[in-house]
């Protein structure tokens, strides 16, 4: 009896927790379909005009396109930089690896505003004009710990003798990487690309300091908030981003786990 009681308590806690976590988020899509300029109850009526209005906005298009480009570049750069590091840290048990992981993780613990300002100072000192390039550099730095975490988890349990077998069969280290290592960790690479893309896509603070006049989507949204009549449109945009992000995260997690359960082979990357 007592055990069951505890179970109910835990259930109530879980429901309360999830409610607290997600209900505020659900207001976003809710009000984005509300036929009123004011975000307040009672709801007036159903409309999709805010979506239509937002998606016709030229400035939004430009910001969205900027964000995509920065996201792709930062995802590629951070994943490409993290891949050899993750391999060295797991497979080759590099000396001083923990120190390196610690340094790579610093951007996770430094307040974003501090990170943004430091990068701004750095870019100014280096005379890099504020543009999408400076945002990409900042985002790459910021994304590396995420890429490293995803890739290292994929490298755990990688049998070193697979690489040795390839060398033994006459391949060079480089070809071994392409014919054996990369195909086997490929799901991890995809997951890392998706996750770092999202991290870059969602970032406001670093982009805010570094983007100059090339606004990214979060910076654009921030600007739009100054105009009360644009608020419902911002809600519509936010709702669309929210759903897109959820789908991408779920997909990334699914890919990351591919072929790690049981002894099943990865179904990717036939070399």
């Amino acid at each position: 009896m007592e055990k069951k009681h505890g179970g109910i308590g835990l259930m109530i806690y879980a429901i309360a927790y999830l409610t607290f976590l997600y209900v505020p988020v659900l207001f976003l899509p809710l009000f984005s379909f509300n036929d009123s300029l004011f975000v307040a109850f009672p709801l007036k009526g159903f409309t999709t005009k805010w979506y239509a209005q937002m998606f016709e906005d030229e400035a939004m298009h430009r910001a969205f396109w900027n964000t995509l480009r920065v996201g792709f570049a930062a995802a590629l750069a951070s994943t490409a930089l993290a891949l050899p590091a993750a391999k060295a840290l797991t497979l080759n048990r590099m000396r001083g690896g923990n120190v390196l992981i610690g340094f790579a993780n610093i951007p996770l613990f430094v307040p974003e505003i501090v990170l943004g300002i430091s990068l701004l100072i750095l870019m100014t000192a280096a005379k890099v004009p504020l543009s999408l390039i400076s945002v990409t550099v900042g985002h790459t730095l910021f994304c590396i710990p995420f890429a490293l975490a995803v890739l290292m988890s994929r490298f755990e349990g990688f049998d070193r003798s697979l690489e040795e077998a390839s060398l033994d069969l006459g391949e060079s280290g480089w070809m071994t990487f392409w014919r054996v290592t990369f195909p086997i960790v490929f799901p991890g690479v995809v997951a890392s690309l998706l996750l770092t893309f999202l991290v870059s896509f969602d970032d406001f603070m670093v982009a805010f300091f570094l983007c100059g006049t090339d606004t990214t989507l979060p910076v654009f949204i921030w600007g739009e908030l100054r105009f009360p009549f644009k608020l419902p449109g911002v809600l519509a945009l936010g709702a669309a981003i929210l759903i897109g992000s959820c789908i991408l995260v779920a997909f990334a997690e699914w890919v990351r786990r591919l072929g790690t359960t049981g002894s099943g082979p990865a179904s990717f990357g036939h070399a």
């Binding site: 049998d159 040795e164 060398l167 069969l169 006459g170 014919r179 195909p183």
Partner: protein
């Protein structure tokens, strides 16, 4: 077979931090020889083999294959191939692509490649398995794929690191025979690592016994069993009864040894080793050289107490406690009743004896 130095290892050492994993090993292996490295876990077998394959650099010493010094060459530049203990079958490739993995460098036509892979699959009796993945094969089948993938490269030396360790007893014995047969047919030099002495003795032309990084003895299986050169080798290969003594008389073809527990032991010197009067020696006797009776024999008899009897089918394994000797004597007696009264009871007094040429005399460590 004449021992030439097709694969020559000279003064090779390898240290990992505080452990000297391989300690100044020198070894010559002949072309086409089936050579086994035998030793307890952690004695350095894998490390020595990895230095032959190029996966580890020796701290000192030379590895030469077919007259060429390969010490500094990486694995992909050596005429060796390896069958890994974990088999290391590529999980993202099917069996045919696994076996054909190393052929890419040869730039064969697609048809030639297919032909070689098919021949290789036929050799390991896995025709029709080419499209399967590693996880769709049994342990024994995977083992054969690993073997075929290495052999298709036509290596001068094939290295096998405990390739049968993961198989059950029945399959292991079948694979031992298959491997040996294959090796004879192909004439490739095999270096085979195992910690199973039966496996080493039954398969090999010669066996090298290792312990704590050192190569203790290299010999034919029969010679290792009958003339072990040290206590370590003697106790690692088969079962052995030991007691210590001192040489009392030494002649060309006979030794008399005095021991605390058994007044005088008559023995024959074996091997090239000469003993002098006063030398401290170790008397080592195989269980099957001992016999048990209720009356003393004319030579080399000692009285003891029957401690335990276990039935092994055509033999009995007896344990006999002799006062003053720590380990009980282990005796392997035929079950036909010749050796021992069928109804001998535990704790009854018996005599253990052996012929003068039944004991191996070793220098005491």
């Amino acid at each position: 077979m004449a021992i030439d130095n097709f694969l020559s290892i000279q003064g090779v050492s390898k240290r990992f931090g505080g452990t000297l994993a391989v300690n100044n090993v020198s070894l010559d292996i002949a072309r086409g020889e089936f050579f086994s490295l035998l030793g307890p876990s952690g004695c350095g077998k894998t490390t020595l083999m990895r230095m032959i394959g190029g996966f580890a650099m020796p701290d000192s010493g030379i590895v030469a294959i077919d007259g060429a010094d390969v010490t500094a060459l990486p694995p992909n530049a050596r005429p060796t191939n390896m069958v890994f203990q974990s088999y290391a079958i590529f999980p993202h490739l099917n069996i045919a692509d696994n076996i054909g993995y190393g052929l890419r460098k040869l730039k064969l036509s697609a048809a030639e490649r297919e032909k070689r892979i098919a021949a290789s699959l036929a050799m390991i009796k896995l025709e029709g398995f080419g499209q399967r993945r590693a996880n769709e094969l049994s342990g024994g089948e995977r083992q054969r794929v690993a073997l075929a993938r290495a052999l298709i490269m036509q290596p001068k030396v094939l290295l096998l690191d405990e390739p049968l360790g993961a198989l059950d007893k029945r399959l292991r014995e079948a694979m031992q025979i298959e491997l040996r047969e294959l090796q004879r047919r192909l004439g490739i030099t095999f270096v085979f690592v195992t910690h199973d002495q039966d496996e080493a003795l039954s398969m090999s032309d010669r066996v090298g016994v290792m312990s704590k990084g050192k190569l203790l003895q290299v010999d034919k299986p029969k010679a290792l069993y009958e003339r072990p050169g040290s206590r370590e080798v003697a106790s690692f290969i088969g079962t052995m009864n030991f007691f210590e003594g001192r040489v009392l008389e030494a002649a060309a073809d006979s030794l008399t040894i005095e021991t605390k527990e058994i007044s005088r032991v008559a023995a024959k010197p074996n091997g090239a080793r000469a003993f002098a009067v006063g030398d401290r020696v170790l008397v080592a006797i195989r269980p099957e050289k001992l016999s048990v009776s209720s009356t003393p024999a004319s030579v080399n008899s000692v009285q003891g107490r029957l401690h335990a009897v276990s039935y092994l089918g055509d033999h009995h394994l007896l344990q006999i406690i002799v006062d003053g000797i720590r380990e009980p004597f282990i005796v392997l007696a035929p079950s036909d009743g010749k050796g021992l009264d069928e109804n001998a009871m535990p704790d009854s007094a018996v005599w253990v004896s052996w012929p003068a040429d039944g004991a191996i005399i070793l220098p005491a460590a």
